[in-house]
Amino acid sequence: MTFKRQFLQSVAALSVGLFLSGCGKTPPAPVAAEPAASTPAAPAPAAKVITVGTDPTYAPFEFQNEKGEIVGFDMDVLRAAAQKAGLEVKFVSTPWEGAFTALAQGDRDVLVSAITITDERKQTMDFSDPYFEASQLIAVPATSTVAKLDDLKKKKIGVQTGTTGEEVVVKLQGKTSTNIKRFESTPLALAELAAGGVDAVVADNGVVIHYLANNPSAGFKSISDAGFAPEFYGVAVKKGNAELLAQINKGLADIKADGSYQAINDKYFKQAK
């Protein structure tokens, strides 16, 4: 095989690849973000580093920026709260489906990943005080006639596996319904909606609002249903880890008191309202 032939073949192979991929951007490899250096409020001698598990596919709560750093609302809140408590945080990308196991086995000290506080989850982990109030939203094409959750009884719905959104539609359609299409992440479910593969997506309000704000061309609208109970996101720690829980709660209380929590909240949700 001469060099010329090899070269031509590799060019051909590349062009097939490029044709198939159009123009894509490869996601950066997960790298834990270094905590931003800032002036410490109190001289904390060698702050204890806690390992924080998060699934960074959930903008604006946790996602990865162009540099591969894990950033988002949850990161800013926890970092600020931990700083108040004299702790340092290290964020580690942890797939959602295995996150609770990683916490139970001690691979992660803390989980912060837009986790809704539920009674079921309280049996296997402990939660901090709530740091965000959320509710479910229905995303549908702008032309859709869907006006409330009940209208989705016979429709195909996209959800992220293991989320509150999934629980809601399972309650609506039954646990063996084949009209429920499950995806690994909410953005994937929304991509399916954009392609016309599902009639609606049910997911957390923050994520849906963020997606709508960033993808006006998708032509979606969001619908809230009075039947959706408000939910609260909490920071999860291993069951029985009272010391760490108290530190996190104190930190959260401090940032709520001094206005820094509000500043973070405004940064992410003010313009999206």
């Binding site: 073949q9 590799s10 293991g162 995806f183 690994e184 016309g196």
Partner: protein
Amino acid sequence: MVWRWDILAGYGPLFAQGLWMTVQLTVIATGAGMLLGAAVGLVNTSSLAPPSPPWPVAWALKLLRALATAYVTFFRGTPLFVQILLVHFALMPLLIHPDGGWLLQGDMAREFRQEHGAFFSGAVALTLNAGAYISEIFRAGIQSIHSGQNAAAQSLGMSPWLSMRYIVLPQAFRRMVPALVNEMVALVKDTSLVSAIGLLELAMAARTVAGAYSRYWEPYLAISAMYLVLTWTLSQLAKKLEVPEHARGR
């Protein structure tokens, strides 16, 4: 450690459907992949057959060979997981989209995507992937037949095509059987990746239960057993199909 097998009970229909979906995907991808792989494999080995064809045919074959090599290189050199996502979220919306799909548009497109979208994308991705691997199995099988066989066929006045059809392929195919069954076993396992695009196959059934209960042993052990039954059955079949020891040539 407490086992809670009861949590699987309510999901019986999901597992049954998932198993059926996995079997369907495997059969379709193997069948279509064999046809594709045979075609690509023949194109790739077309340079071996004497005598040289007239120049327009030779050039057409050259171009086909370049395309075939590019195809095989791409599908063997990238992860299947990526290929599935590419097909479902990038390629298919181009072809089948409610507004402005190249093949299907409007309500027909919507309906097709809703009813069969994930299955179709998964089958296409798996077929393309299997086709690339199977074409290499064909190429190796054909090249393993001694060139003297071709020369002998030529001396009897057979055309390259006739010699391929009646002399080379029947012998080569016998040698390919184990590798082809291997590919089918690999496909059974690879179908689990299609759960990434929301298709309800066996792995998705387990992920649904795991997501609902945050329990991992029971659902994943259950599907491991089901996959094992499938792959083990295929391996036994392969043993039956292999050329018996006393009949093996040199």
